[in-house]
């Protein structure tokens, strides 16, 4: 793909990820468990991963996190996001390359890893292992949310013409 075209597409995907992050922050998801998220922004990351490349997906994810940090200025939440997003992306890239799984399932594993990464950061920051108590709920919600987001992502991946 031509460089100019790639840069434009990356910018578009990153901007979409940023907007989706903002939309996500508007959804009041009060289930009483910290860290439960739908993960709208992952739609843009999945799109980049499947239609562009793994490196491009990392760029989209990175720009999103940086953008959210600059726009909403919550550095503690940024530490969470970086750990979650990095682990999630790493897992999804590996699964896409080495396992024959459908996109929604790759996304589900990504969702679970995202939550796991956040818990690890929370345990490290507070030095309190008990926070892992929330892990089972987060594995469940990560799986379900990941599948739903993955289904949307799969539609985009197969239908959007570049």
């Amino acid at each position: 793909m031509k460089t100019t075209r790639r840069i434009a597409l990356l910018g578009l995907a990153a901007a979409l990820a940023l907007v989706l992050s903002y939309v996500e922050s508007l959804v009041p998801l009060s289930v009483g468990v910290p860290g439960v998220r739908i993960g709208f922004a992952n739609i843009a990351v999945l799109f980049a991963l499947y239609r562009l490349s793994a490196a491009d997906a990392a760029v989209v994810s990175g720009v999103r996190i940086l953008g959210v940090a600059l726009l909403f200025g919550n550095w503690m939440a940024t530490a969470y996001s970086v750990a979650g997003a990095a682990l999630s992306l790493l897992g999804m890239v590996m699964l896409k390359r080495f396992a024959k799984l459908s996109l929604p399932v790759v996304s589900a594993v990504g969702g679970v890893l995202h939550n796991a990464g956040q818990i690890v950061v929370a345990v490290c920051v507070t030095r309190t292992v008990q926070i892992a108590w929330y892990l089972p709920v987060l594995v469940l919600t990560g799986t379900v949310a990941g599948i739903v987001i993955g289904l949307v992502g799969a539609l985009l991946v197969s239908r959007v013409k570049l």
Binding site: G32, P34, V105, A108, V109, Q130, Y134, V137, V139
Partner: protein, 118 residues
């Protein structure tokens, strides 16, 4: 209307189904083990940056304003503890459900504060 051949779909997605089932099974088993081994707690322990700074009996109703890196209003009521209000940016601690069993936590990461039942 497109007809979906269930048998074919299942065969094509065997790996997918196995992976999802494994994830759900892990969550279910962990949740079950935790529910079965749940013990009602006796103390509400406040930790900041890994060190215990305060401890209150869970059986006595009280309201404490915690001032560590910010303000968190801790409420112990009817054998359950929760953060009623806080001045942290994300309010994750306020949205966390009340806790009462050993090992349960309410976390306020911006203030590096954890309320844990012991």
């Amino acid at each position: 209307m497109m007809k979906v051949n269930v048998k074919q779909w299942l065969r094509r997605h065997t790996r997918d189904i196995l992976v999802v089932a494994a994830l759900l099974a892990v969550a279910a088993v962990c949740a079950a083990v935790m529910a079965l081994t749940a013990v009602p707690g006796a103390h509400v322990c406040v930790r900041v940056d890994g060190a215990e700074v305060a401890r209150y009996p869970l059986s006595q109703d009280r309201r404490v304003t915690l001032e560590y890196g910010g303000t968190n209003e801790l409420v112990i009521e009817g054998g359950r503890a929760r953060i009623e209000s806080a001045d942290c940016p994300d309010k994750v601690c306020v949205r966390t459900a009340p806790i009462s069993e050993v090992g349960q936590t309410v976390v306020c990461l911006p203030h590096k504060l954890v309320v844990v039942i012991e």
